[in-house]
Amino acid sequence: MTADHWNEPSGAPETVTRDVLIVGGGPAGLSAAERLAAAGLTVTLVDEQPELGGQYYRRPAPAVAERWGDHRPEGGALVERVRAAGAECRTRHTVWGVDDDGRTLLAVDGEGRPVRLRGRYLIIATGAYERVLPFPGWQLPGVATPGFAQHLAASEHTPIGERVLVAGSGPFLLPVACSLVDLGVTVVGVAEAGTPYRPRPAALGALRHPARLRELAGYVTRLARARVPIWQGHSVVRAEGTDRVSSVTVAAVGDPAAARTFLVDALCVGYGFRPQTDLARMLGCDVRTDAVTGDATPVTDPRGRTSRPGVYVIGEAAGIGGAPTARARGLLAAFDILIREGRPPARRDLLRAGAALRGLARFTELTGRLFPSPARLTSSLVPPLPGDTMICRCEAVTAREIRAVAGEAEVPAPVDVNAVKARTRAGMGPCQGRECGVAVAALVRSVAGRTTDANVFPARTPIRPIPLRALLATETTPETTPKTTPGASPDALGPATPQEERP
């Protein structure tokens, strides 16, 4: 082939080789990075966002911080400690795939330049997605997730609307409603699909977590003072509007007859969070279906070890537990790596971290008992959706189309979500089915009675759409001098065979 390569890249792509490579700069990734870097290992931490902190420790924009302060100053302090410990922090880096060796991560930086990332140990701390479930009108502008409203409030000090209804399920709804109230928003109400705030025996365990109880009571008091009603056992039936959402109808779960409609200019609906597992799956980490959430979750031990040697999954990516749990998981993974590197931490630190994680696990379990299980919510809210409800927003696929394929009589039902994807295009858009996958699976199950495959769309490369121009500059990778501890083999991980979840 002699055609001249006129669009050949000018320089070789950058390859970063470290002792430890951490993907995700939230509470989990930061906690691990701090310990590992402080112990003298070479650590690179990459994050998609312009600032470290993740969703929980999201840093306010400078102007916002100056005027309103930082809502979580401990996050900023942690980031400072990570930098001071010597960890290399790379923001605006999107990890989009895993190279053919099964261990080199492929990323693009903020300027669209390719970067290859290698670590003797890989720590995946990619966090969570918000759990969204479709309903008629959810594609209207003005309909957002609680997390997005919180993000706007925290980093931009901007309210998502003037009259807002907050709905969904989970402990996150109350702090979001409070943030909106603090910004002067009229919160017309909070619709919680479960009944977590009714006194009952299951709630008694909360007495063992007084700090959490005080936090919860604080939210409830602030909302009561602002006269924001909390409707338990209620969910959104539909949102309506022409250019954007203008009204939302709420009804008791399972009793759509007793519906009430509210005028709003924004609506926040979310059913908590689910692990962001694409990268872990591409790396070949075993996953299982969590019985309570229905989510594909990487199989990890308390140290964050996965089925792949040297690959750790920590934080929300390993299962939803909240920021304190994420930090504890980050510490334990760091300690495990330090032990393997012959630099064990103090025994007291180890014991304390282990005890903290066990205590937090009990709290998570309690929360799980108070709120309806996401798997149950999904199977009660999705199957009754009207036929014209948009399920896949990227490809505009309705519930009717999915039911038609799943229940087709002529060609016996392709009772798996990937067959439905192929027939309807649901899940083929830019989000790769991350938004609609749960709902598509619920619809298929409700029509066909079962699904034969994993209930999840496979994790496809690239994880995020990436510019082809970045690929043109990647290709061959001359090794740069590895920045790793002397004597350590950068090939400790070996090749992977990425796994899709199997039932």
Partner: protein, 400 residues
Amino acid sequence: MSGVLTADAVIVGAGVLGAAAAHHLARAGHRVVILERGAPGREGSGTTAGNLHIQAVHSQRPGQEVPLDNARFLPLQRAASERWETLEEELGASVELRRSGGFTVAETPGQHAELVEKHAWETGAGIPTEVLDGDAARAALPQLGPTVIAATWCALDGYANPLKVTPAYLSSAARSGARTHPYSPVRRIDRHREGWRVTAGRDGGLVVDTPVVVDTAGPWLGRVAAMAGAALRMSPVAIQMHSTVRLPPILPHLVQHIGEGLSVKQVAAGNLLIGGGWPARTLDLEGRSLPSLASLHGNVRLAARVLPFLADLRLLRMWAGPLAATPDEMPLIGEVPGLPGFLVAGGTYAFTFAPLWGETLRCLAESKPPPVDIADLGPGRLMDHADHQADHQEERNTQC
């Protein structure tokens, strides 16, 4: 055992070839049972690019050991082209068929010479093509880049959505009484009286007696044939495809390369599909074959050189799919010598040839002459001589 079904034909593999055969057989009044190990149309038939290759194709995909015999294909392509033209009417369904023509480009003088040579074959086979120099090609398709020095144009090249074609064939077959059993892997194939007994299903509970078995099992074709006692030398491979994000209509034609593995087109949904037979990282006949990042880079680099506007798009996803390739890279269709009623079909350009092979399989099942000459495409060439006493004897005689 809970009752044995009887059928006039059992088709193993509900990919595009099996579905096409089912359509033709069922429509002719035969009772057809289709057995599929997973979901219909999922594997090669659901992962293919969906190109209708009517002009002679690039003869060697990346990693392919033996070049295609392009000239041999042309009468088959001509016959397939006619059948695609009427397919949507025949099936009563849209398959997003688009015959908006295609270019095959050259970037070197050697490749240019190949275009001229293949143009002569095409003319001889009744396939109208035209050789353009680089500037004429760019005038016709301004997106072509400066490295293109020549191109052939064929108005018959096109595209059909593979995700629509197989289901449409199966629906048509079902309307004529064919019955598809998905998630029913074949366990055994035994001689039974004058015909065959096929045992399928996860628990082996599905048993069908039939005079005719059609093995269209794609990459599993060889395994299925082995159950019936035929050792075929197959060389299944997995290749991969790449899709960009959606775009308003910008590329009306199929673009291929005469010297390297490249096919680019824009599909009805607006995505641009980039392929060309680049090898996947794994061929996994038990699970999901995985695409290769090296092939992604190679394929995209080539695509962006021929069509520079692609560099400004974003890659949406990539995927791999298995194919039933043969060691000689020629299509495979015919009855297995020594196994009366056991038919096989698969191999190169199965998607383009599906309407033709569906009809051909019906003819073979009815012991009628096929619509095109397939004498040299049968499975005998892929069998060991030990299985083939007659040939073996003949060969020895010639040597003597």
